[in-house]
Amino acid sequence: MLAWMFTDERWSSVRRFLYAGALWGILALAYEVLAAAQRAWPQVLADVPWVSHGRVVAIGQDLWVFGFLSHLLVGAALRVVGQGDREGLWSEPLANLSLWLWGAAQVLSGWWISTGWTRGRPLGEAPWPVDLMRLAGALLLLWVVRNTLARSPRRDPALALVFAGFAGLPVVLLLGKGLFWPFHNPYHGILDALSQAFLRAGLVWLWAVPLAGGVSLYVLSALTGRPGLSEGLGFAALFGLVSFGALTGPAEFVWGPVPFWAQTVGTVAQGLLVLPVATLLAGAARSLEGHWQSLGDHPGVAFVLAGWLALSSGVSLSALASLVGPSRVVHLSLWGEGVRVLVLGGCAAVAVGCAYLLTPHVLGRSLASRALAWRHLWLVGVAWALSAPALLLAGLTQGAVWATGTVPFAHAVQAIRPLLAAAWAAAFLVWVGQGVFAWNLFLTADSGEPVPAAEQELLPVAGS
């Protein structure tokens, strides 16, 4: 049993992270569907404590970020990192250990939050034993990735981005959750509120986006044979992302109870984040130059590009909303949820696209059904077209009603109910799409056409 769990078989951890991401995704999106239903129709399962709305939202977010998104991104990132000198990962057993640690942490987190044990910090609800397991897993992954990359003779900005994500996560968890003092929250008052905001910003800009950027740049350039970003631009994007991303936390408190200078820092950083994200989008597009037909050939490429477009729109809307004028109206409203759909959904689409593109290089088999993958893309596309405008419009409506100061709050809730129903329909479509994705991966592993060993390599392009 232990030999199977901690096998040193080449790419075993990559396969397991991808499978786990697909399965956690089904569960995460089921919670999202339930949470969206409870927003539109508040009495859905209201009498069952372990699926009350507050707990469902907490578990859904935790599953989404740490289960679905993180597992998929780590799977794809480990495959890319291990390609370096064609020897695979420095230690498959350690990478497998981090997978089991994160899996156990995910199960415990869902169970404990369901039963009411929570730290009560949005996106940081998991109790401290879960956090410690996640931190241990993150440190193991960092060690494996560092030692794997150290063997490689090449300097590649895509791999540096991936490494930045692995280096950033432990620090974000350590500081954002106060894990240097694990048995007791070391933060109180406004410091606790600001560290919560730091954690949320860090999980997106210092973890998910660098990984999504690095993996997609590497995979696209390897598949098309065209480099994405020059070394200079790649490293500029990396440090822009990390530096500005680490400063965006106080943007959550525009007009709110933190010193004005801190609000300004957060707002400016939020605006500047557009630059590195646009650079990464340009890098992905540059890899595809002369290969635009691959957009129609392989759904994985279309997923990656759609993800970057959504992410870029999300960061632009987020920057707009943190400006003094617009934030008067949309701050604290559902506009923020619409932006999160675009940013986190964009990262997830990039991760899913890379997973589709990497199947021959991880499973040794061609994707079982491109038709199913195209259907998945359509389901997600329709869902975005429904949910993002619905939530943004709902946010504007809420903000406009609050600004009057005379219309009762309940009227705003009533007015946005049809938009919340549309968001529920979108969540349902994404959930169905996730089922299609997992089924396609299973079919590929089970009966996909074998790929010759030479074609399973993922050769990088000089200067990518």
Binding site: Q38, H53, E125, A150, A164, G168, G189, S243, S333, P408
Partner: protein
């Protein structure tokens, strides 16, 4: 690539730590924040706060009045939100609950504009688009109402 991996790692860690210091630590060291103290909660209200945390009320309710919406300094009726919230208002809170999404009304001063009976009735019936919390034990409901009444 060993050298560039080490350099990248050190720069990333330095950027993240600086980000935390600038955006979390320094604002919290502001003299106005450090000198402020929030009104202490009674034992019952403190228990009610944990019911609030456990049920994830923060998923839909904020506890922060922003500068753009504070119109009246006195809270008398529904719709009045009172003075703008300050950082010191959260002093000592673990976890702090300013919230980031407002699907239900802001609760920063709900205790000043609602009676215990109104709050209890809203929690039980799920009025105004809120789910009902009939499954809470009577004592938990009383604790939660005591906490909400303490928000002034």
């Amino acid at each position: 690539m060993r050298d560039s991996v080490g350099a990248t790692g050190r720069l990333v860690v330095a950027a993240v730590v600086c980000g935390f210091v600038v955006t979390a630590l320094l604002p919290a060291l502001d003299p106005a924040v450090r000198s402020a103290r929030a009104a202490p909660l009674s034992a019952q209200a403190a228990r009610g706060r944990w019911v609030y945390v456990r049920e994830g009320c923060v998923a839909c309710h904020t506890q922060q009045v922003r500068g753009v919406e504070a119109r009246f300094s006195v809270v008398r009726a529904q719709g009045d939100v009172g003075e703008v919230s300050t950082a010191g208002q959260y002093a000592g809170q673990d976890p702090a609950l300013p919230g980031r999404l407002r699907l239900g009304p802001d609760l920063a001063r709900v205790g000043a504009r609602s009676s215990g009976q109104e709050l209890r009735s809203a929690l039980l019936s799920g009025a105004g688009g809120m789910p009902s919390y009939r499954y809470l034990a009577d004592a938990e409901l009383a604790d939660l109402v005591a906490y909400l009444l303490a928000l002034r």
